[in-house]
């Protein structure tokens, strides 16, 4: 069941993202140059500025340092967590040969564990920030719903990390079953009580992926396009 959900989620995420991009480029470009000054002299400068604005958020740093810290944490650690999950597809050979299985397990426990905690704190910060004026007054239910969903995914993930004690080979077996379109939990997971935690983690993450391109989270691609307008 959770298996089918994963396929739907990936399909909707990809199709939804493609639709959103189509939806944007279908509209005519503004006939007026909307950029502001100072603006870079050439397209190389524009590219650099785009990367800086979209990855370092210098305007946020200038404006609200605490917010900048948590937002950077959320995005960088979030990206790191996504990459960390890739271990389930297969070991990264150079690192594996150097550290060995035990070393890799320790690394992912420390790395993944701290990432899980950092994400928890960052999302809680963003959530509690919304309870305060004036942020409360500009928030809509979508904002809370997304944060709560992400919070739930993180909490379930942290539970798996700290309390479930599945071996990476079990996750890899599950991932393999997904890739071969024959989704099933391997015995070690299926017989554990924590299988429901994993199923819920996958389920909520799939929900997020489905809603992703249709929500404000579409800024994961839109912000690059919009930040390019700054130097138009």
């Amino acid at each position: 069941m959770a298996g089918v959900m994963v396929y739907v989620a990936i399909a909707v995420f990809l199709a939804g993202t493609a639709y959103k991009i189509y939806h944007w480029i279908r509209a005519p470009r503004s006939s007026v140059r909307l950029g502001m000054f100072p603006r870079p002299e050439n397209s190389f400068g524009r590219g650099l500025k785009l990367i800086k604005d979209s990855i370092v958020f210098p305007q946020v740093l200038d404006n609200d340092r605490i917010m900048w810290f948590f937002v950077i944490m959320l995005h960088i650690v979030g990206l790191g967590t996504f990459i960390g999950h890739m271990r389930m597809l297969g070991e990264f050979a150079p690192l594996y040969n150097w550290l060995g299985k035990d070393g890799m397990d320790t690394l992912s426990y420390i790395g993944g564990g701290s990432a899980g905690l950092i994400l928890l704190v960052a999302v809680l910060y963003l959530l509690f920030r919304r309870f305060k004026a004036p942020y409360r007054d500009i928030s809509v239910p979508e904002d809370y719903l997304l944060l709560l969903l992400i919070l739930l995914i993180i909490m379930l993930g942290d539970h798996l990390r700290f309390f479930a004690h599945f071996d990476v080979t079990d996750y890899q077996a599950y991932m393999k079953s997904l890739i071969t379109f024959n989704p099933a939990f391997p015995a070690a997971i299926a017989e554990s009580g924590a299988r429901w935690v994993l199923a819920s983690h996958v389920f909520t993450a799939s929900l997020l992926a489905i809603y992703f391109p249709f929500s404000k989270l579409v800024h994961f691609i839109g912000s690059f396009a919009a930040n390019l307008v700054r130097s138009d």
């Binding site: 809509v140 979508e142 912000s223």
Partner: protein, 422 residues
């Protein structure tokens, strides 16, 4: 039922106006609220309806309710709204209050241009017959003058005679002129209402031996503030047609931020044609005249502390940061910079046509608080700013907060400190 149809038609105004960039702005705002510290109006009033994201959200909620799946099936999720009287009232108050300084765009991590979204709001308000009456009246007067210029011409020429005499006195040259309707002149200067924007420029141009002619029209464009692009184009057409008729190679706009923006960045897109002349601002022209040695400034002639206020339309929206500074610094012994400055400068609170609206007087003077703090911190006695709207606002702030400063235009500063040419 009828009301429903009207609301849908109003919402459709948004849909029609949305181009690619505006769609990004609709879709990606996360309502992080970081724009709260960027807007002088929110900072001064603490009223959330002036927070840029809140203003933009009014448009966003109407659009989403009518044109997105989420909005149609689950409007409560995004708090979708109909363009009813309540929404339009709120939109009117917050949209015509915006000075268009685009400081919120600078501080937005996604570079969302709230002013541009509010341009869509103005289109919707105009469709609903709720445009600002004062701006409509001022724009109408400008169009009327354009259509009946022959009736006005004699009065204008008569009043210029006195100004011409003053130019002759100042320059000590009895042949000094204010040329009007001069075909084939190199440049046509477009002033503002009032000879204070003509006199200093005539003196400067006389010193520079520039081949120029004075436009019969003013640069200001209330159609642009109103948000009616068609009307704004008609007003700008007056100047464009005159320049074409006189076959000038460039037009030079007075110290008027939005007039420069209209001519330089908007007109060609509106008219879908390339202008056969160059568009320049008097700020860059004065800078070029000094750089090329055509005029000379008295170095360090002002002893009092001087500071420079970056008008939003001259700085953030046009890119002249260093040119005006080099002129101010050249003549001042004690130049002081405001903090923050350049692209981070605070709006004075007078832009966007707000100074033209008497009902906004109290609000705009209140929202100039940040500018007042900045000026006080410099301890400067003279504030120079090349924008008429800024200067009107600074005059108001000076009076209300007893700043005890003198506000000067850049043209006056340059004209008063010219070294006589041999």
């Amino acid at each position: 039922m009828a009301e429903k149809t009207i609301n849908r038609e109003l919402a459709n105004v948004i849909n029609v106006r949305l181009n690619r960039q505006l769609l990004y702005y609709i879709d990606i705002c996360t309502r992080c609220g970081l724009c709260k510290d960027a807007c002088h109006q929110y900072v001064a009033t603490g009223d959330v309806t002036y927070l840029p994201a809140y203003r933009a959200e009014l448009i966003r909620r109407v659009y989403k309710k009518y044109f997105t799946r989420t909005g149609r099936f689950m409007p409560s999720l995004i708090e979708g709204r109909e363009p009813d009287d309540r929404l339009l009232d709120e939109l009117y108050r917050t949209t015509y209050a915006c000075t268009g300084c685009r400081r919120c765009m600078y501080y937005c991590p996604f570079s969302i241009d709230t002013t541009w979204l509010l341009g869509v709001a103005k289109a919707m308000l105009l469709e609903a017959g709720r445009g600002s009456p004062i701006l409509t009246e001022l724009a109408g007067a400008a169009v009327m003058k354009g259509e009946n210029i022959d009736l006005f011409k004699d009065v204008i020429l008569e009043s210029l005679k006195d100004t011409e005499k003053e130019v002759q006195q100042i320059t000590g040259d009895a042949s000094a002129q204010i040329p009007v309707e001069k075909t084939g002149a190199q440049a046509m200067y477009v002033a503002l209402a009032g000879t204070h924007t003509i006199l200093p420029v005539a003196v400067i141009f006389h010193h520079a031996r520039l081949d120029w002619t004075l436009s019969l029209f003013e640069a200001a464009n209330y159609g642009y503030f109103l948000g009616d692009n068609k009307l704004a184009k008609t007003i700008a057409d007056r100047i464009v047609d005159e320049a074409k008729r006189l076959q000038v190679t460039q037009i030079i706009l007075s110290e008027c931020g939005h007039a420069y923006r209209v001519m330089k960045f908007l007109y060609e897109a509106w008219a879908k044609e390339k202008l056969p002349f160059e568009v320049k601002g008097i700020v860059e022209v004065m800078h070029e005249l000094v750089e090329s040695g055509k005029i000379k400034l008295k170095k360090d002639s002002i002893a009092e502390a001087v500071t420079y206020h970056d008008p939003c339309q001259v700085g953030r929206n046009a890119g002249f940061y260093e040119e005006p500074r080099s002129l101010v610094k050249a003549v001042s012994r004690d130049y002081r910079e405001m903090t923050p400055n350049r692209e981070k400068n605070w709006c004075c609170g007078g832009g966007g046509g707000v100074v033209a609206e008497p009902a906004m007087d109290e609000f705009r003077l209140k929202t100039g608080m940040k500018k007042v703090e900045q000026i006080r911190a410099t301890g400067a006695r003279i504030v120079v700013s090349p924008c008429e709207n800024c200067r009107l606002q600074l005059d108001g702030l000076n009076e209300k907060y007893n700043l005890n400063i003198k506000i000067s235009s850049l043209m006056d500063l340059v004209a008063d400190n010219l070294v006589a040419q041999k």
